[in-house]
Each structure stands twice: as C-alpha cells, then as structure tokens.
C-alpha cells in the first residue's frame, strides 16, 4: 500500500515541478509519521498529500495550493482535513523537518566521486 501511495506521490511531485529535495523529504516525513501513528486506510492519501505540502513549504520557494492538492485527490478530503493533518504531523514530528534524506548523502557522494551526468542519473534512479 505504501508502494502504491509513493508511486502516486512521485507523479504528483513531478506534475507540480518541485525540487528533488522535496521528494525525498516528503517520503521521509511520510515514513516517520506512519511509523509513529496508526491510521485508517482511507487516510493514507491524506497523510501523503500533507507530507508533500509540508516538504514543499520547507524546501521549495513555492508550494502547491491546498485547493490543487485536494482536486488532485479527486476531492476526497476537505481543506480543514488537510490543514488539520498538517498540524498533526508537525506536532508528532516536533517540527523536526531537517532530517537528512538519501538525496543529501547522494549529492555528497557524487561530488566526491567527481561524477558525470550519466552516473548522476543512474544514482538518482537507484535511490
């Protein structure tokens, strides 16, 4: 189930043209929240979308509007639900959004390896 959600979120992330860093942070936030809180099956998508919202607020200089996020989920949730979930996640994770993601490490390794663009694409495909 997580796999399906993440696949879908990657598509959403791509559609909004957000930064790479945002994608990895979103998945980290999602995993951290899910590992701490038991949720209902029909809330899974809500948690995923809110993780995307938070990650892009922290990382990007632009974030998708709540309305757009709701419409992309086929109007399954309301604005209040998304904003409520935002507060819940932040509270649960104690505002610690600065967790290291695989992306940061990969950047460092690639720099150390003096990689070319072919290696970079392969590396980012693998993580």
């Amino acid at each position: 189930m997580r796999g399906i959600l993440v696949n879908w979120l990657i598509e959403v992330h791509f559609k909004f043209d957000l930064m790479q860093e945002t994608l990895y942070l979103m998945i980290t936030l999602l995993d951290q929240y899910l590992s701490q809180v038991p949720i209902k099956k029909n809330e899974m998508q809500l948690v995923g979308l809110t993780a995307l919202l938070l990650a892009s607020k922290y990382e990007d200089f632009w974030h998708p509007r709540v309305k757009e996020l709701i419409s992309i989920s086929a109007e399954s949730y309301t604005r209040d639900q998304v904003l409520g979930m935002e507060r819940l996640i932040l509270k649960k994770l104690k505002f610690r959004l600065n967790t290291p993601t695989p992306y940061v490490f990969m950047l460092r390794f690639l720099k150390a390896a003096q990689s070319d663009s072919k290696l970079e694409h392969l590396a980012f495909y693998l993580i």
Binding site: M19, Q20, E21, L53, L54, K57, Y58, E59, D60, F61, H63, R65, V66, K67, R79, V82, L83, E86, R87, L90, K91, K94, F95, R96, L97, N98, Y103, V104, L107, R108, L110, K111, S117, E120
Partner: protein, 323 residues
Amino acid sequence: MFSGREVEWDASNRIWSWEKNIVYKGKCKDTGEDVAVKQIPYDSSKGKFEGIHPNLIREVTILRRLSPHQYIVQFHNTFCVNDNKRPLWNIVFEYLSCTLKQLIKQKLDPSNVKRLIYQILSGVAHCHSHSVIHRNLNSESILFEENSRRIKIAGFGLSRSCSIPFGVEEKFLKSYSPGVEAADISYQPPEFLLLSENYSLSSDMWSVGCIFAEMARGDVLFEANSCSVSQLSEIFSVLGTPTEADWAGVTSYIGWEEELEALDYNFTSKDLTLEALKAKVPALDVDGMDLLSQMLTYNPSERITAKKALDHAYFKNLDKTEL
C-alpha cells in the same frame, strides 16, 4: 501546545512588528518569567487559508536545531490560538529588552566592539556548522542580554538550511534567494543585489562585516537605498567597482547594469581601497581593518569564513574566558 507551558501577553505591549508578524512581550504563567511572543497568521492566498506559513515552519525547525546555544536566542515552544476564526501561530522566545542597534547608539568602546563581534562570529559559526544561512543578520536581529553582557542572534524568519551547494540544478540554487528581498538592504551582500546564484554561507559574512563596521563607527556603514542599483553604487563608492579580476563573472549577473559600469570608482590598488574604508571606520586598528576588509570581500568564495575569523590576529589579545 507543544510543551504545555501557559503563556499570557498583553496586546498593548508590542515590541516589534513587520508586515503581519508582531512580537509581544508576555509572561509565563507558571514561572513568571518574561517571554517574547511572535505571532504569525496563517498563510493565505486569495482569501483561503493555506496552512502554516513556510517561514514559520523553517524558523521553528531551525531554532529547534540550533538552540540551546549561548549566542542564539532561546526558543521555548510554539502553539496555535484562534482569533475570530483566524488561526494565529505563536512562537515563544526568551525576552531580551535591548537590540544591538540600541547598544550601538550608546557608543561602544573598542574593547567592547572586539568582545561583541567575537560573540557574533561564534554564533554565526554555530549556525554555519549546522548548514544554516541566516540571511537577515543586521543590528536589529541581534539582541543583547544585559545581565550576562552577551549577544543573542534572533530573527531566523528568513533563514534556510542548505545542504551542499551543487552545480547540477539551476533551479536548486535559485530557490535559495527568494524571500531575501524582505531583509534589510543595508546589510545585503553584493551577490544578493546582483541576483547572482552564487549564494551560500559566505553571504552572512558580508552582513557580519557591515555590523562590525557599524559597531566601530557608531552608525550604519552603507545607508539603505530604495533599490539595489543605488545600494550597489553606495557600496562601490567605498570599496571600488569590482572588476572581473576581483570577482570572475561579476559583470554577467542579471542585476549588473550598465549604469554600474559607468560609475568610476576604480581604485587602482588594494591599499587605496583600504584607505577609503579606513576613512569610514577610523576607530579600528590595523588588525581590525584587515579582518573587516576580509569580510567585505566582493568575491563570496574568497570571503573569510566565521570559523577562520575567530582565529584572526585581531582577537589575539581578547580575554576569551570573560565572554
């Protein structure tokens, strides 16, 4: 909401405000301790709430990581209240009554300047060791605690944490600059004003240089101008117009305009630049001037780092046990 500490404040006791963000002086109900409460309304677009403001998320995340530290303002907690159905987020900090700007107005003697700039550099080095760019260092975002005679860096609303700068994605680098337009223009480094993407921790060091000079001369080094071109010409009139030799690529940045080229502030040698700067800050000794000129270096990659600055000869005779 997060640590359960009850805080009360009086709306008439406003200490600072900027756009919709307001800071009140408050009190902790349990301990009676004075606190500062910063209120930030929900982010909204076209009348619809967009949730918690990105700047608040960044500020709290960064402060959680940086404090406690002796030169960083102490962050207590954050909670939400509803004011007529408008959710307001509150960040609670320790209360400090005096800003560095107020302190500078009372005139600082050279030994105090040395002590304070050392403290500021220690605080900035702490931020930088956690990959946090402050982006809004100025004499009002640095507070002063009278009892311990220590400065505390505050105002992290525009800060960002940055991972390793990496040249592949143009977009990645660009994303670091939006938002800084709101920072105080007098302290902005030339790479901001020129809209360069060459943007990293060293940008804060320019601002520290401006603060250092301000403390030594008792007044702002570069007066604030209304636009970036006039701000740049103000800087050039003191430090000379940068050439490609000083800073490769400077004339090809988006913010570089022909108007700037026409300004004839070409100092032929480094000594002449030092003299012009010296005229602005006569109170500094030779070592101090050397440190200042290394902070106000045009090329960001040649600018001194906070950590290196702490080892500069200027601090040789500073008693570091009494900081």
